[in-house]
């Protein structure tokens, strides 16, 4: 039997005016297990807390019930008070007789009666409380960033700045991501390369950052503070240490017809290649799909011309095993495939391009050296039609497209239109829009400039059909404000394709046990209050893997994710919430019901020996909860058919004791 002390607070007149505090203390003093009950003006005041401490010591109290304001207000206060008097803080329960009684019930008799009942429920619960000690786990002070685009780079730089080592795992031969492919950035029109490449160099030279390019995540085990990660370093057939990035091999490579993915396939590269001049690491990679030596055994020219002796055709994939305390996902996005939208003739005419392709056509480092030329005949386009929302904002039952707004298209289309008009004033530019969405600093001003200064024709309506004919693209569209159908003979059509999470995200989420929405964007722990954390502890989100974002937002989120990582890594140990799920292995069936409903992946299974009848040993599969990962929601306790799973601090028996006390 516990020795319980009950402390009834007046809260000045807040409680005492409508609750007879003396009667409450008196009634509760008669409850079983209660050895002391009193009332006082302000329990939370220093003298109130002193009294609690004294009584704990004097009477050897093993449990404390405070009848006062909401536990959301002072539960933490009273727990600390008791802890300082040597009582386990989880032996304290609060009966909320202010918000739930004195403030809502005017009749003193009624209020007093209810306060007594709530006090009884708290006493009944404390009877079953057990001392809980928050577990501690050590933290590996190193972070992993998956994805080396602007999100990953910024996160890594910020974490490295705080003095923690970071690994960036990038699946391509270089970091840089989508931003490296962009020409100018909205709304300031500064050149993407000018602001991105210095960051790439910083990342490459930072002694706290290691870039594992051309690598993928193979497997993830462990939990917050203690992840074990296997990283596949794909064979690039070039020794990274030796390669100087001089580019001689690229000049001499006879296989020159490989579609250049960096330029969206608008031109070709060689089989051994460095994706672009500012690549980091600036190291050549052999594309095994096209290399003559690797496919036919004949050639070997790159090896012969390499002065650094860096080419190694025998290289194999390697698996690297590392430990991390935190993982940041920054896997980014891709434009959707436009094959299904052939009403715009994307696969029927080379002059119908996606916005990212257009970006390359405008870029000084692109396939046309920055002169805008039509892909079909390399002539100047004089009429360009931009189509917005291609594949965005589609109905779920439509078989193609995404339900969400891709968020960045309105702005980059305005940018494209403006840049085109600035460089080539003789070009007519039409933009077909459903809505122009420009919430962002300086965004609407930017769009207005496109209309007002650059005379871009913004037309509210949608293109319904594009017909290539005689070197022109016949565009048929609606102009809803004019209520007419219009026909434009265009030279180019640019489609603002919806963006979608990178295809590597879904398998990665499975490895991380991080949750995703139906669109394969990672879900955040709380949509408003924890936007850069995954519900799985220790996993953080940066950039478009969480949802469509522009560059400023991505960088902001990258910084936020980094600061969350830093505040985790500065800790030597993690102190958990001790109110976590606890399975009774003697009753556990190992049926995996609990695991299925756990949003945190906190439950795993172990085969354990148990004593069977007649001195035999039985091996049984039983659930194991990782207290460092469990957040204590209790979903598993109800899913468990045998009642083996219980929640510390809110156990079945505790809650039922409260029910009994209330219904008596």
């Amino acid at each position: 039997m516990q020795r319980i002390g009950v402390f009834v607070c007046w809260c000045g007149s807040n409680i005492a005016a409508t609750v007879d505090v003396e009667a409450v203390a008196d009634a509760l003093s008669k409850e079983p297990g209660v050895v002391f009950a009193t009332n006082y003006q302000y329990m939370c005041s220093k003298s109130g807390q002193d009294m609690i401490r004294e009584k704990i010591k004097e009477l050897g109290l093993t449990g404390v019930v405070i009848c006062s304001c909401s536990p959301r207000m002072h539960e933490a206060t009273f727990r600390k008070t008791c802890e300082s008097a040597g009582l386990n803080p989880y032996m304290v329960e609060i009966a909320n007789i202010r918000e739930q009684v004195s403030w809502v019930h005017k009749d003193k008799a009624v209020g007093t009666e209810k306060a007594i009942i709530l006090g009884r429920a708290a006493i009944a619960k404390v009877q079953l409380n057990t001392p809980l000690i928050a577990g501690q786990t050590p933290v590996t002070k190193r972070a992993l960033v998956i994805g080396g685009g602007i999100a990953g780079i910024q996160t890594a730089l910020d974490i490295a700045d705080a003095g923690f080592p970071v690994d960036i795992v990038e699946k391509n031969p270089t970091i840089g991501g989508k931003m490296a492919q962009l020409d100018k950035t909205f709304p300031t029109l500064d050149c993407a390369a000018c602001i991105l490449t210095p960051k790439m160099v910083d990342a490459g030279q930072n002694e706290n950052i290691r870039i594992l390019s051309y690598s993928e995540i193979e497997d993830v085990k462990g939990y917050i503070g203690n992840f074990d990660v296997k990283i596949r370093r794909k064979a690039r057939y070039v020794d990274e240490e030796k390669c100087t990035g001089c580019g001689t091999c690229m000049e001499k490579c006879p296989m020159k017809k490989v579609p250049n993915e960096f330029n969206m396939g608008l031109d070709n590269r060689t089989a051994i290649y460095i994706p672009f001049a500012q690549a980091v690491p600036k190291v050549a990679t052999i594309d095994a799909n096209y290399c003559l030596k690797l496919n036919t055994g004949k050639c070997g020219i790159c090896s012969k011309v390499c002065l650094a002796d860096a080419v190694d055709y025998e290289q194999k994939d390697e698996i690297l095993e590392e430990k991390y305390g935190a993982i940041v996902v920054a896997t980014g996005f891709n434009p959707i495939s436009l094959e299904k939208f052939d009403e715009f003739a994307y696969s029927q005419s080379p002059d119908v391009v996606s916005s990212l392709e257009f970006e390359r056509l405008m870029n000084a480092a692109g396939p046309t050296g920055g002169t805008l030329l039509r892909p079909s005949d390399k002539t100047h386009p004089h009429t360009i039609v931009f189509v917005q929302c291609v594949g965005s904002r589609c109905d779920a039952s439509a078989e193609k497209g995404k339900e969400y707004c891709s968020k960045i298209c309105c702005m980059y289309t305005a940018k494209h239109a403006m840049l085109t008009r600035e460089k080539y004033p003789d070009t007519e530019v039409y933009v077909f829009y459903i809505d122009v969405r420009t919430p962002g600093k300086g965004f609407d001003e930017f769009y207005r400039r496109a209309v007002e200064q650059y005379n871009v024709h913004y037309i509210k309506g949608m293109v319904g059909k594009v017909v290539p004919e005689g070197g022109k693209l016949k565009v048929q569209a609606s102009d809803l404000l004019d209520n007419r159908q219009i026909h434009i003979d265009a030279d180019m059509v640019v489609l603002a394709a919806a963006i979608e999470p990178d295809k590597s995200a879904r398998p990665l989420a499975t490895k991380l046990t991080a949750s995703m929405d139906t669109n394969d964007f990672f879900t955040e722990a709380h949509p408003k209050l924890r936007p850069v954390e995954s519900p799985t502890a220790g996993i953080f989100l940066s950039g478009t893997c969480q949802g469509p974002k522009d560059i400023p937002e991505t960088v902001a989120q990258a910084g936020a994710a980094a600061s969350k990582v830093i505040s985790l890594l500065v800790k030597d140990n993690l102190v958990g919430n001790p109110c976590v799920a606890k399975p009774d292995e003697l009753m556990c069936n190992g049926c995996s019901s609990c695991e299925k409903v756990c949003p945190y992946g906190a439950i795993t299974y172990e085969d354990k020996p148990f004593r069977g009848p007649n001195r035999t040993t039985l091996i049984r599969r039983v659930a194991v909860v990782n207290p460092a990962v469990c957040q204590g929601c209790g979903a598993c306790t109800v899913a468990c058919p045998s009642g083996a799973m219980d929640l510390l601090g809110f156990s079945n028996r505790q809650i039922m004791a409260e029910v009994d006390a209330i219904c008596k």
Partner: protein, 262 residues
């Protein structure tokens, strides 16, 4: 290979060529087309209204018969195909329509319930999926070399893509692959899947004319010498209502020619 065959009324009258050559070509390819007994007109227009039952009945009767015969049902006319395939989809997926149709057919004709389990394909799908264009190519005795042919799909053959499930409704390839298989050269032109206005030809000839002229113009400017189609309505419209018509053939006619059975 044996299939149930639904010719449809136009093919037995004004579009005899489409039917006759289709049968001859099938025979040459070693395919038996068994004409359904006592088939009725499909109604020519798919009843978009979800509460129309009567206009779905003839399609269901045809489908039930194919199911009884245990054979896939082949259609040739685009319009019939459109109607029958979509009604079949309704019988599979729309419980209300299924119940009402079956209730009617049971009460009036004592028919067994039909739940959309027959398979209906277009003659072109039969060529692509059952014969194979490669096989077809190998059986061509008279390749139509040097002919620049524009495939005219029209609207009913492909749309709605979700229900017709035949080809990409915006960038189809089945007719182009067919043209290649018979040894001719397919010519792409953008308006091959734009409507010719066939349904409206009786109601408003001028409108139909305008549509046809746009299509023929686009085809001609893209280098098309002749058009082929699977639809009697399109055939009539392209031929009769264009100001400067291009030669128009049913695809079966060229097929029969290539197979040497014309």
């Amino acid at each position: 290979m044996k299939f149930s065959y639904y010719p449809g009324c136009t093919l037995s009258a004004k579009a005899k060529d489409l039917d006759e050559y289709g049968r001859k070509a099938a025979e040459a390819l070693g395919i038996t087309l068994e004409e359904l007994p006592e088939w009725q007109c499909c109604g020519a227009v798919y009843p978009n209204a979800t509460d129309e039952i009567a206009t779905r009945l003839s399609s269901v009767r045809a489908l039930s018969k194919a199911k009884e015969a245990g054979q896939t049902l082949v259609t040739l006319c685009s319009a019939c195909h459109h109607v029958i395939k979509r009604v079949n989809g309704d019988m599979q997926n729309n419980i209300e329509i299924r119940q009402n149709v079956n209730a009617y057919l049971h009460t009036m004709e004592g028919a067994e319930p039909y739940e959309g389990d027959a398979k209906v394909i277009h003659y072109l799908e039969m060529l692509r999926d059952c014969v194979g264009f490669d096989t077809l190519k190998s059986k061509v005795v008279n390749p139509l070399k040097g002919k620049k042919i524009g495939a005219y799909y029209g609207c009913l053959l492909l749309r709605p893509g979700k229900e017709m499930q035949m080809d990409d409704p915006e960038n189809p390839t089945i007719l182009e692959d067919f043209i290649r298989a018979i040894g001719a050269e397919p010519v792409y032109y953008g308006m091959r899947n734009e409507c010719c206005g066939g349904y409206i030809t009786v109601e408003d000839k001028d409108q139909a004319k305008k549509r046809v002229n746009a299509i023929t113009g686009n085809a001609r400017n893209s280098g098309v010498d002749m058009l082929i189609t699977a639809c009697p309505l399109c055939h009539y419209n392209l031929k009769k209502n264009a100001d400067e018509p291009l030669p128009v053939y049913y695809f079966t006619e060229l097929l029969a020619e290539a197979l040497g059975v014309k």
